[in-house]
Amino acid sequence: MASGNTYSQVVAFLKVVLPLIALGILATLFLVPREVDLEAAIPFAEVELEKRLRDQQVTAASFSTKTSSGHLVAVTASTAHPDFEDPTRTVATDLKARIDLANGQTINVVSDDGEMDSTFKEVVLTNNVQFVTSSGITMDTHEMTMSIDEVRAESSGEVVAYTQFGRLNAGRMAVRPAGNDDDIYLFFTNGVRLIYTPQKTTGDQ
């Protein structure tokens, strides 16, 4: 009878050994290192890496809020990094700000440079600031301070505006809600000069 059961002895033996071998292979699988060259995977050159680390530069920085009265303010910049002299301030380049007013109109502002203080309450846009409203007003100025958490902006100097009612020069410009129902108003102050050219007159008596 002894010889009759060699087959079952062999099976019993294999039932134990084979899983152990499988377990062994599985365990060692992770230890076999595949040669992965991490170095080449990073697309930054050595020098740029240091520059980024040194001045903590952020690319395509963006910042958006919703004001209490329901307007959306979104500011994006191609690069942003802390100011060298005063690290609490952030300096950004190639800024685009977009304000979606509750009544559906939009205001788009672009500028070459911008600066923000640590409170992130407002951004100072400088150099080639252009302010365009969907109601057809385009304004150029040198520098403008724009609030982030509400619709409020103010130019620090001369403004030239091209509107549907003609070309306008003004000493200062400010945008803010006013009036009893908080409509958004553009205020031009410090002397205003508008030149309007009527189209060919229709009602010629």
Partner: protein, 141 residues
Amino acid sequence: AAQGLTVGFGEMEQDSSLPVEVTSDSLSVNQNDGSAVFIGNVVVIQGEMRMTADKVNVYYLEDQSAIEKMIAVGDVLLVRGPDAAEGNRAIYSPEAGTVKMYGDVLVVQETTTIASDRMTVHLNNNTAEMHGRVKTILRNQ
């Protein structure tokens, strides 16, 4: 006093497609309806016409393509060549080339002074129609 009186007002033929220049201390534009209000020493100049007032509201045509009318309020003074007219309120429509003045209108020309309730100046043909209690005072030089 005559019910209505037509007088010459200003000399030059006014082409109402001449550019209009408006200067003032400040201007506010409502983003919702686009209405604009000039405030403080407002001066509106078109060709030979010069109008000054404290405040001027600007209203556009429906499609915002042109200025429909400007309403001047607060000691309005309209000067065209030798003639001057003052009143409490004036409605100036650049397209139609007319200025309507209301509220104790007083027209001063070289020798005559005419007072009335209302006046309509037609810039294109230099005439002004005066209505309501027209009173003419002739001074002989």
